[in-house]
């Protein structure tokens, strides 16, 4: 038997080339093999004397089941072929991965930079977008939530609430409007004290009308919503508790429905538990209590008081505009029905989602843009890194191409390497996303509406990872394609090292990439700068009271179940004040009904004795009470007259203190002291005339609201007036906070423990939104700056490497080392100047998008722009200096010996 080695060779080559056999080829080969057998057999039979046709027939008959055998062999071969192909792919992949891994280990700096960039870009974006998606994009957990609207109105007074209505007008609207499918009322019910045998706690409560869940389209996790039966005579008071409360306070008790608890000083029966995903239309609530609309409507005075908020569900297909139009038509009738309600019947619908998210949306959108810019910088950075490295590797790729690696092989190699970076960077990025999400939510605190738990969004993660990796792949592939085209002599000769024309083109490409990075970083720096300046302005804003960290504030509430009479609770507050004052370090303790930083000021009608007043519009002024030490403790200055004293007692002349803007408004000539005023709506008889004894500074109830005119009555002359305390200390405020809690526990363990905060924390909490925006944008700007710096560094380091020989020659020819530094700085400087310039122009065009968040600073604040430019230049030049330093150390002999 002879065999043809050359044919074997071809088969071997095919296998070596891993060229797969096609199904047609397999079928042809099987057919040929079997035909060969038949013909050999037939030939033997012919040799033994049969004629050709008979021999062929006999051979076929002898063979057995020919068709079945053919099919069997074809199937087996195809399976075998597929398995071989799979194992070849795997083998190539492992080899590619091994090579890529070796490359990574050989260039740890590059690997670290790429991985850090990828991880930060992917992590930051995933974290931010997951939050954005939850808060801004994901629909509310209500049925057909796009048909739900919060109602707003035009308030009666400038400082009135624009979202409160009377029960009368809302009930009429629900009855008469055809656009409205359902309307529900609710209102803040304040905090209710829960007490059991061991503990007491303060629960936030909201009152809701009984159709609340029907209108929202929400099912309770357990039990039922409120019904009219809950208001029947003799029926127990009903309450619905939050999911968190059910889990934490009641240990997920399966038989919670029907259980009686003491809350708000009365016994209530739990009728329902909210689902964990519940989102209140406005307030976070621990418990919901029923609002008895019929009994409200029964008393005209209660029916017309504007204290309720409302959510409407419009009928399917009815737009907000159509509803507004209808409401305008209904308005005249309401006006004639309720002439005493100012601005009655104005209903402005705002989509419920928008109403809940509110201004946090602006912050989130800004943060989202910031994250996108960081993603862009990430992509550009990755592109730049791979581009500059690929340019440096032209030589290596040239060698591989010379050794016979085809384009496909080189491309696959680059893909594997980029893929490996992508996987590793992506994995770190995922981890980072979880960490950053936690940080984000913690920093955001209560500035973000609570719309349920934020989960890392897989789609976002994949998108961020894909786009950054795609950049690396795209820019990594350019040289791989180029390598199969390049002149091998050029690559192998000196092209790789000396910067041939192609090398210079690559360098120009990377310069553009770096300039782009720098300009994006400038944009973020400007945004961050503007927000930092805003934050500074807000922090410096005079709120009228102290912002010191050594002044503490807390609220106490004596539960009515234990302090039945007002006198009993007054005694409790007096005892508490006395004990706290006795604590070491305490210099002043003052108390008031509602402190300005707690919001929710009461307004009273302000009537000056002897001054004519328009009965239809009695001036409304914010009202508070104060103890003698309240003003010095809170840092509110006395402008004239005197403060309250211990002599202002229940029996003595009723006194009042006004803030300076009240004095200016009603007594332009400055003779307010000694004047008499009546306060309508204050917790004492409205005929009581109070003597003004002093004028104090104005205060704001939050950093961004205007100074508010205010009138105070003396605590001691107003029953039921304490509650908020201000403690000024000379020592460690944090330690004092603990002591205060201990004192309260010692006095009565059944009173809920206080939340003691420093005034500094109180003030900064009111600017949480700005702080959130500032913190995140500053973090993004820092990240972008870092990445841009890395970009400059990597390009300059490569440029220096590429010109090593040139520098060596220059030094050998007597160039001073300083002149080499200048040479490099000039090269890098051009990129930095172009990048910074473009960035500043871009920022100039874009900065108006942050206007909504700025206070007291122009969107084109020259100082901020200048600082951004300077900061970027410093980082850029520093990034140039590092490689420049190494360039000055080039020894001429070494440089000339390279290669």
């Amino acid at each position: 038997m002879t065999r043809d080695r050359s044919l074997m060779g071809r088969r071997g080559l095919r296998r070596f080339l891993k060229l797969p056999r096609s199904p047609e080829q397999i079928r042809a080969e099987v057919a040929e093999e079997l035909r060969f057998d038949l013909e050999m057999h037939a030939r033997d039979l012919v040799d033994r004397g049969l004629d050709r046709d008979a021999a062929m027939a006999r051979a076929t008959a002898d063979f057995g089941d020919l068709d079945a055998t053919r099919r069997y062999c074809e199937d087996l071969d195809m399976e075998f072929e597929a398995a071989t192909r799979r194992s070849n792919i795997l083998r190539d992949l492992t080899s590619d991965v091994r090579i890529a891994w070796r490359t990574m280990r050989r260039t740890p700096g590059f690997a670290f930079t790429v991985l850090a960039t990828l991880a930060l870009g992917i992590g930051a974006n995933t974290a931010v977008f997951s939050v954005v998606k939850r808060v801004l994009i994901a629909p509310l957990p209500f049925r057909a939530s796009e048909q739900l609207y919060r109602l707003y109105t035009t308030p009666a007074t400038t400082d009135g609430d624009d979202d409160k209505f009377s029960a009368a007008e809302l009930t009429d609207l629900a009855a008469e409007s055809r656009a409205v499918a359902g309307l529900t009322l609710f209102g803040n019910y304040g905090s209710l004290t829960y007490t059991n045998d061991q503990v007491s706690a303060s629960w936030r409560s909201v009152a809701i009308s009984s159709n609340f869940f029907d209108v929202l389209g929400l099912r309770l996790a357990r039990g039922r919503g409120f019904t009219a039966d809950d208001f029947a005579v003799g029926a127990p008071r009903a309450v619905i508790i939050s999911s968190a409360l059910w889990k934490q306070t009641f240990g997920s008790d399966e038989r919670i429905i029907g259980r009686r608890i003491d809350v708000g000083d009365v016994s209530r029966v739990i009728v329902g538990v909210l689902p964990p995903s519940f989102v209140g239309p406005t307030f976070a609530a621990d418990v919901l209590v029923p609002l008895n609309i019929p009994s409200l409507l029964a008393m005209p005075r209660n029916a017309r008081v504007r204290v309720w908020r409302a959510v409407v569900r419009l009928r399917e297909g009815v737009s907000a505009a159509a509803f507004e139009k209808e409401a305008a038509m209904l308005r005249p009738r309401m006006q004639s029905r309720y002439p005493t309600i100012t601005n009655v019947g104005i209903f402005l619908p705002v989509p419920l989602h928008e109403a809940i998210v509110g201004s946090a949306g602006t912050v989130l959108r800004l943060v989202m843009v910031g994250a996108l810019l960081v993603l862009a910088v990430t992509c550009v950075n990755i592109a730049g890194l791979f581009l500059s490295r690929a340019t440096a590797r032209r030589r290596e790729l040239g060698v591989r191409a010379a050794l016979g690696a085809g384009r496909a092989r080189l491309v696959r190699h680059v893909l594997t390497e980029t893929g490996l970076y992508g996987l590793a960077g992506g994995a770190i990025g995922i981890g980072l996303a979880f960490v950053l999400k936690g940080v984000f939510l913690r920093v955001a605190g209560s500035s973000l509406p609570d719309l349920g738990p934020v989960t890392i969004d897989v789609g976002v993660l994949v998108f961020a990872a894909a786009i950054s990796i795609a950049c690396g792949v795209a820019f990594g592939l350019v040289p791989a394609f180029a390598a199969t085209r390049i002149d091998l002599r050029d690559a192998l000769g000196d092209g790789g090292a000396r910067g041939s024309s192609q090398g210079r083109a690559g360098l120009r490409g990377t310069n553009v990439v770096v300039a782009a990075q720098l300009s994006l970083a400038v944009v973020l720096l400007v945004a961050a700068g503007l927000l930092v300046r805003t934050f500074g302005t807000l922090l410096r804003t005079d709120v009228g009271y102290t912002k010191e960290a050594n002044v503490l504030t807390f609220s106490a509430y004596a539960p009515r179940s234990r302090y039945v009479t007002l006198q009993a609770s007054e005694d409790y507050y007096a005892a508490l004040q006395q004990r706290v004052r006795a604590l070491p370090g305490v210099t002043h303790i003052g108390s008031t009904l509602v402190a300005p930083w707690q919001g929710g000021w009461q307004h009273v009608g302000f009537r000056v004795e002897g001054q004519p007043v328009d009965e239809s519009s009695v001036p409304q002024i914010a009202y508070g009470t104060a103890s003698p030490d309240y003003f010095p403790a809170a840092g509110i200055p006395l402008r004239s007259g005197r403060l309250f004293s211990d002599l202002d007692r229940p029996g003595s002349t009723p006194v009042a203190i006004i803030s300076e803007s009240v004095a200016r408004r009603f007594w332009p000539n400055g003779n307010s002291i000694g004047a008499g005023v009546r306060l309508v709506g204050a917790p004492f008889d409205s005929t009581t005339v109070l003597r003004i004894v002093g004028v104090v500074g104005d205060v704001r109830d939050d950093v961004q609201s205007p100074l508010s005119p205010m009138v105070y009555s003396a605590n001691a002359q107003t029953l039921g007036s304490a509650g908020a305390f201000v403690v000024r200390s000379s020592g460690d405020a944090r330690a004092l906070a603990t002591s205060i809690a201990q004192v309260m526990h010692g006095l009565d363990p059944k009173v809920p423990p206080p939340k003691v905060r420093t005034m500094h924390d109180v003030v900064t909490a009111t600017i949480g939104r700005q702080r959130l925006a500032m913190g995140l944008i500053a973090a993004f700007a820092f990240l972008a700056l870092l990445l841009a710096g890395l970009g400059v560094y990597s390009v300059m380091a490569y440029a220096v490497l590429a010109r090593t020989r040139e520098f060596g020659i220059r030094v050998a020819l007597g160039a001073r080392r300083m002149s080499i530094v200048v040479l490099i700085l000039r090269q890098g400087g051009a990129t930095i100047v172009v990048g910074a310039g473009c960035g500043l122009l871009l920022a100039l065009a874009l900065s108006r998008f942050v206007r909504a968040l700025l206070v007291g600073v122009s969107v084109h604040d020259p100082m901020t722009f200048a600082m951004a430019g300077v900061l970027l230049t410093i980082v850029g030049v520093t990034a140039c200096l590092v490689p420049a330093r190494s360039a000055t150390r080039v020894q001429p002999a070494d440089a000339l010996r390279v290669d």
Binding site: M1, G64, Y72, C73, L76, F80
Partner: protein
Amino acid sequence: MAKPAQDLMYGTVDLVILRTLAWEPMHGYAIAQFVRGQTNGAITIESAALYQALHRLEAKKLVRGSWGLSETNRRAKFYELTAAGKNALRKQATDLKAYIAALFAVLDAK
């Protein structure tokens, strides 16, 4: 032919093929001829069974097929034993011999 040829028992076809290929690489028809010649026509392998077995053994990587020229100068597919095939042959032959010895111990028991 004095007696009609015996078809191989199921399971022994693979072993016979492996043993035959241990001599030298052959194409399918040569394998059949070889077996017939060795047993003086006592054992024949049906061609259908032979080719199915060859492709099965190739898929198991016990033999390797490659195209070459036959003694009649025609393209034919030759099979050769792989290293794994040699091991399999050794093991299967040992097992079968042991089995047959045991079988005879029963059949010849007196």
